[in-house]
Symmetry: C2
Subunit: 284 residues, 2 copies
């Protein structure tokens, strides 16, 4: 499908992508860029089928698809560094969970280059991070949002779409601004709420914690995500996240009042509304 | 283990208990009480190994263990109705997720009877309700809290403990007041927060909902629980739930401030605290 694919940053997503590219046979050659000596060695052991590079130039030269899998706050810098080495058929994407700022930076940085950029947000992940948890099936049946800018070539969009579909993903196209707003509601708010819940329970005695059941485990699962990664994501999307949090607070205030007043009908209706929303979700 | 066990109310918990009693061979005879004609017929089909009764007297007479599996707000009434038919060796328990009020009612109701009451809270459940989802393995490796009152016989406590352990449960003993406080934090608050999150997202357009990922599915899973059942549970424990909600709000206010101020260090520390709590949980 591609002649040469480069994965920049073999964390959980980059590592899983590497395994999937190999498994689904999506590229003749696979190049992985890792920053530190330690990661280079670990990647060489974990992905013996790939060429591992420590230099960005060597890793992107000659690649027709470059996927930046480093944390969101580093993507602008990586784009600047790889720009001189991109070919005219190079298609660049990323896997960041915010798209507005990344697409703006990409447009500014690559605007006068022949290379093309399309933002990707594969909605797959796990509480664990690190290449040792890589899994080629991580993307199966999950949504992937592509956020092309106006000047993007149809053929590039089509081949990127096919790439993610081969991973088993269900691809949707959105503009970067709508993406960030929707994802604030559907991903960043749930993450923040899960962390707030876990934070508010942090002082519970160890003996009592043992009594936590499946409900507690489920609601706090994503709070175990990487704190550094997520603090950057949440801040980067605060423009949309804060209004989502305000909406959550209005719901909280209303249910608190029903509790205080002992109004069982209002409380039941409230729970019923939430139940209906949950029931309508496709991801279970 | 027992000569005759009675399950009052074959919903998800009562039905799963019935299957487990049969599977683990914990009683020579099993009696199930169901209220409506429809439930009696359905129970007869689902649990062909049990005697199904529509009268409370016939269902509890001669039983050495009676397990009330009806909604929390009905337990007091059931206790009053079955009291005349309990034998001097009858041990009565329930499966309600609040224990203070239930144990008080039991003490008042059965105080002058020879029958013994010990509250049970098997922390097992599912979003689904109804006997058709019954599963004998529902209790495996889950916690079960027993809340004996002072006058309880050691031998009764021991045999009830063994009963739940045979189901695969890890039994802990707590006084009813401590139970309700701990469970407000570990079960009722997470349930309420999950519902608030689902409620606050209820107006999202259907097209966008499709983009919800695993994080949203996990955090809102318990919001799909039975609204009638849960509105009663939450209200019954509002004395402990409202302070737990206040604590949650303090955590929320603090993280909101970090977001507004763009303070990445404070935000990361906050997420880190939540992560640590989640990491320490035994139920994953």
């Amino acid at each position: 499908m591609f002649r040469q694919v480069t994965i920049i940053g073999p964390g959980l997503l980059g590592g899983s992508l590497s395994l999937a590219v190999k498994k689904m046979d999506l590229s003749e050659e696979l190049v992985i860029w890792a920053r530190s000596e330690k990661s280079v060695n670990k990647a060489a052991q974990t992905f013996p089928f790939a060429r591992i590079e420590k230099g960005l130039e060597e890793s992107v030269r000659g690649s027709d698809l470059i996927i930046i899998c480093t944390p969101v706050e580093t993507i602008g810098d990586i784009l600047k560094q790889i720009k001189p080495f991109l070919g005219e058929n190079s298609l660049v994407t990323d896997v960041g969970s915010i798209k507005g700022s990344i697409c703006n930076i990409a447009q500014e940085t690559l605007g006068d280059s022949m290379a093309s950029f399309i933002g990707s947000h594969p909605m797959a992940g796990a509480e664990k991070s690190g290449m040792e948890f890589s899994d080629p099936m991580l993307f199966m049946n999950r949504a992937c949002i592509l956020t092309p800018l106006d000047k993007v070539k149809e053929s590039d969009l089509l081949s990127l779409r096919k790439f993610w579909e081969k991973m088993g993903m269900v691809v949707q196209i959105l503009d970067p601004t709508s993406h960030d707003k929707i994802i604030a509601d559907l991903s960043h708010l749930p993450h923040l709420i899960s962390s707030i819940l876990a934070h508010s329970l942090a002082e519970i005695q160890e003996e009592a914690q043992k009594l936590g059941g499946q409900g507690l485990a489920d609601t706090t699962r994503i709070a175990e995500g990487d704190a550094n990664l997520w603090s950057n994501i949440l801040l980067e999307n605060k423009k949309n996240l804060i209004p989502a949090l305000q909406k959550f607070k209005r719901s909280l205030d209303s249910v608190e009042l029903s509790l205080e007043e002992g109004d069982i009908d209002k409380l039941r209706d409230f729970l019923e509304d939430g139940k209906e929303f949950r029931h309508s979700l496709q991801s279970k």
